[in-house]
């Protein structure tokens, strides 16, 4: 099966780039000017206790041994101990990763079909009211940063204008993210609003290109019913580029959640990043950066796979 080979090759490529990224992350975080031991024990700590702690964390080992030790830990599922909370990283971050992934997934699931539909319909109604209207709305929404969109939503729906929804989530770390579903509405809506316009615009452009193509004109000149023209000849060719955009936006969302989670007090990796950056909690930052890079690599792999699957020219070229 050529497709299996393709996936295997791309996975290997992804893995290699993850290793490169892990090295980069490690080196960058090593450049932190402060001494973790001192941060943990405070300024009054005795030199002996500092030294003991450095020894415990392996901070006195040569850099490459530290890196290999860290990498080895990752491979065995041991991500180290948080400097700030003294808890295992996996214990501290694990549930938050779940929460964030849930938020991300919900955002993606809610935004992608809607934006594809809007983009495709706008292309069909090119230069008519729906197209101009939706393009302007998406333009305005896409321009604003997430926290502005979120704040405006809070003003409109949770505080000043109407009080239909909670302004913040009351989710406890450890309980499933859906236990506070009203609190999910605004964070998800914010993510949807900041991603949907891009996907919709690319879909519109792609669909217009396809509708103007010779083969769609030819399908009409063959007497195909409009339904067949759109669904058999148009749409399948138009969604090809969408995979890449969706992948790019999912990776972008992974960054966007930092702000959105902070805004809505959502206990996910976003708030953990902000906190650990302030606390200079290296093991947590390293782990989170790696997780986000992995999400990026994975979505890209899926996107490439999707593109290849819907594009015969690429599919038949696989050996």
């Amino acid at each position: 099966m050529p497709i299996v080979k393709f996936v295997a090759r791309r996975s290997l490529y992804g893995l290699v780039s993850l290793v490169v990224v892990s090295l980069l992350i490690f080196l960058v975080t090593q450049a932190f000017p402060s001494d973790p031991a001192e941060r943990i024990l405070g300024r009054e700590a005795t030199p002996e206790s500092l030294e003991a702690l450095r020894e415990q964390f392996g901070l006195n080992d040569p850099l490459h041994e530290q890196y290999l030790g860290w990498l080895g830990g990752i491979l065995t599922g041991d991500f180290g101990t948080s400097y700030a909370t003294q808890v295992r990283v996996s214990e501290y971050i694990g549930p938050r990763v779940g929460n964030s992934l849930f938020l991300l997934l919900l955002g993606a699931v809610a935004s992608i079909p809607v934006s594809i539909a809007i983009g495709a319909y706008a292309a069909l109604r090119r230069d008519r009211a729906f197209d101009t209207g939706s393009s302007l709305v998406s333009l305005v929404l896409a321009a604003m940063p997430e926290f502005v969109v979120g704040t405006l939503l809070v003003v409109l729906l949770a505080t000043n204008v109407a009080q239909w929804l909670p302004a913040v989530t009351y989710l406890e770390v450890g309980s499933p993210p859906w236990s506070d579903w009203p609190g999910l509405v605004l964070p998800v809506a914010t993510l949807v609003i900041s991603v949907a316009p891009y996907v919709a615009r690319v879909m519109r452009a792609s669909m217009i290109e396809v509708l103007e193509s010779d083969y769609v004109e030819m399908a009409r000149l063959k007497g195909m019913p409009e339904r067949v023209v759109l669904w058999r000849h148009g749409f399948p060719n138009a969604v090809g580029p969408i995979f890449q955009v969706v992948a790019l936006n999912l990776a972008y969302l992974a960054g966007g959640v930092v702000v959105v989670e902070r805004l809505f007090n959502f206990p996910g990796i976003g708030s953990a990043i902000a906190d650990s950056v302030v606390a200079r909690d290296l093991p947590v930052i390293q782990f989170l950066a790696l997780i986000i890079a992995a999400v990026y690599v994975l979505t890209n792999l899926l996107a490439d796979l999707g593109t290849v699957l819907v594009t015969p020219r690429l599919r038949t070229r696989l050996r």
Partner: protein, 601 residues
């Protein structure tokens, strides 16, 4: 004759194609794209609709199927296909007509076939949409039959291929099979062989000829290639600026053209069997919205009088079935210069010598051991089909392709592989003119600045450079005022003149012309050929003329090398190679090239 073909003929007798007073407008401005178009194609006949790009041929062709592209609208006239009033149909009626009674064969099959669907799916869906034969068994039988008609294998494996897995010729055959699938009465073919090699073109044309005759189809064949029309069509209609200016039988139109524009078209068409030189025509056809009140050709016409400018002339009957819309209509031909003209070749004075040139792309050898000389004042043509390696040879000589071995000598100096490694005088000594004048001029730079650049590099002072730019512009039959214009203000022919001027500015020894007329309309091409001849005569310039267009070689070159698959297969004087080819390959090439002279003989 089989039962099916007689059935086809009965359909055809019902009417063929009749267009009357067709007008198509630009939606936004109301300017006409085409107007007053009236045509009739009886069943079983082929009408060639000729004209240069932008003349409205395709617009007419699409209107036959009741289709107008985005931004234009059919606003008047009638189209009858096999007795059906096409423009009066509702959407459902049009759908059942298209692909059923009337079919369309597009220009570029590579882009007209859906890249995401297997060809079997695309062929079957036509039959299904029109419920051909009433049963799926009948449709499968028809599918097999039509694959056989266009000489393609019809097995499941072949039908499961995607368009990109076929060659250009195969793709166009699939297009033909699709068009003939439901046994149409009317067929519109829109430049279906443009971009195909002559041998592939010959096969496609033979298939078209065979199927239209056999099934009694009325065919509208749109093209800019007069030789193809002479070869294939029964009747011709000539379009200029959105109007039909002349129509008649093939023999009438080519032997006794009555409209001055038609005369120019005929006199500008290179012919493989021709014995006369080409006559060019400068200027360009006015675009929609810029067309004058009277005859649109009047501004370029030497016969134009006030009557021409007052109103678009009524049709003048020249002979039975031959009419022209010209006040001065009368059958005549333009006087043409003798073929080849005076050669300026200085035998023995070799300017450019190529010895044992072999070139590769990323390790794959595409040119094998090519050698030739170009004497001072000589024009050598390198002829070949696409993929023959002719352009690669010219790029190696120009230093634009770096992966080659062999020796290229300019004067006495052996040239380095890469242009950058050559001395300034060597770089200026070989000048390259590119195929596409729309891509070879920097759109952000004035014509003057473009022509000036080689002079600046050569260290010429400002005043001399200014003077040289003006002189060079005049040498290519433009005026000095063109120096201040940008490329987007020029027509294709003018741009190519500017590109030639840039190459000439610093008096090169050799001009390498890479398909420089293939993007131009035929009358403009002839004007460029005239220009090159005069340059050669006046400047003693040596020229390497790379082309796929064998008939053109006769009009421009002293000698020719024929290339195929990276090797030179034949060489000699232009006249001897074309009139008395020694090699099979050249013979086939010449036999496959359509010719007006041969068609009328």
């Amino acid at each position: 004759m089989s039962a099916t073909s007689t059935e086809g003929r009965r359909d055809g007798v019902a009417g063929g194609l009749v267009i009357e007073g067709l007008r198509v407008d630009v939606e936004a401005t109301g300017h006409d794209v085409v107007d007053e178009v009236s045509l009739a194609v009886p069943a079983g006949r082929v009408l060639g609709l000729v004209g240069e790009s932008g003349s409205g041929k395709t617009t007419v062709g699409l209107a036959v199927l009741g289709h107008a592209r985005r931004g234009v609208r059919i606003v008047g006239g009638t189209v009858r296909c096999a007795g059906i009033d096409v423009l009066g149909l509702d959407d459902a009626g049009r759908r059942s007509l298209r692909g059923g009674r009337v079919s369309y064969v597009p220009q570029d099959p590579a882009s007209a076939l859906n890249p995401a669907l297997r060809i079997g799916v695309q062929l079957r869906e036509v039959l299904e949409a029109h419920d051909f034969g009433g049963s799926s068994a009948a449709r499968e039988a028809r599918l097999a039959e039509m694959m056989a008609e266009v000489l393609l294998p019809g097995d499941a494996g072949y039908l499961a291929r995607y368009p990109h897995q076929l060659s250009g010729g195969q793709q166009q055959r699939v297009g033909l099979a699709m068009a003939f699938a439901c046994r149409p009465s009317v067929l519109v073919l829109d430049e279906p062989t443009t971009g195909l090699d002559v041998s592939t073109q010959a096969h496609v044309l033979a298939t078209v000829r065979d199927l239209t005759r056999r099934h009694g189809v009325a065919a509208l064949y749109i093209t800019h290639d007069l030789a193809v029309v002479a070869d294939l069509a029964d009747d011709v209609a000539v379009m200029y600026a959105g109007r039909i200016v002349e129509r008649g039988t093939v023999r009438e139109i080519f032997a006794a053209p009555a409209h001055p524009y038609t005369r120019h078209l005929v006199a500008a068409a290179p012919d493989i069997a021709g014995r006369e030189g080409l006559v060019g025509l400068v200027g360009r056809a006015p675009a929609p919205g810029r067309r004058p009140a009277g005859c649109a050709f009047a501004p370029r016409c030497t016969l134009a009088t006030d009557a021409c400018r007052a109103a678009f002339p009524a049709a003048v009957r020249v002979a039975e079935g031959h009419e022209a819309r010209c006040v001065h209509a009368r059958p005549a031909t333009l006087s043409r210069p003798p073929l080849g003209g005076a050669s300026a070749r200085e035998e023995g004075n070799v300017t450019l010598r190529v010895e044992g040139l072999s070139a590769s792309y990323t390790g794959v050898r595409v040119v094998h051991d090519v050698s030739f000389d170009v004497s001072r004042g000589e024009c050598l043509a390198i002829v070949g089909e696409s993929g023959s390696g002719k352009t690669t040879v010219s790029r190696c000589i120009g230093g634009l392709h770096k992966e080659w071995v062999g020796t290229v000598t300019l004067g006495w100096a052996v040239l380095a592989r890469d242009a950058r490694a050559r001395a300034l005088q060597q770089r200026l000594g070989i000048q390259y003119v590119f195929q596409n004048p729309y891509g070879s001029l920097n759109p952000r730079r004035t014509v003057g600045a473009t022509i000036r650049r080689p002079l600046v590099l050569a260290g010429v002072d400002d005043a001399t450079a200014d003077r040289t730019v003006a002189e060079t512009l005049e040498r290519v039959a433009l005026t000095a005022s063109y120096a201040n214009r940008y490329p987007d203000q020029l027509s294709g022919g003018e741009r190519q003149r500017v590109a030639i001027a840039r190459a000439l500015a610093h008096r090169p020894d050799v001009l390498v012309c890479d398909e420089i007329t293939s993007a131009l309309d035929v009358v403009v091409q002839a004007a460029i050929v005239e220009l090159l001849a005069s340059l050669r005569r006046d400047l003693g310039l040596s020229m390497l003329f790379v082309t796929h267009n064998l008939p053109l070689v006769r009009s421009i070159a002293d000698s020719v090398v024929v290339m195929s698959e990276g090797r030179i297969v034949e060489r000699g004087s232009a006249a001897s190679v074309i009139d008395a080819p020694r090699e099979d390959y050249t013979r086939r090439l010449i036999a496959d090239t359509p010719s007006i002279v041969r068609a009328l003989a």
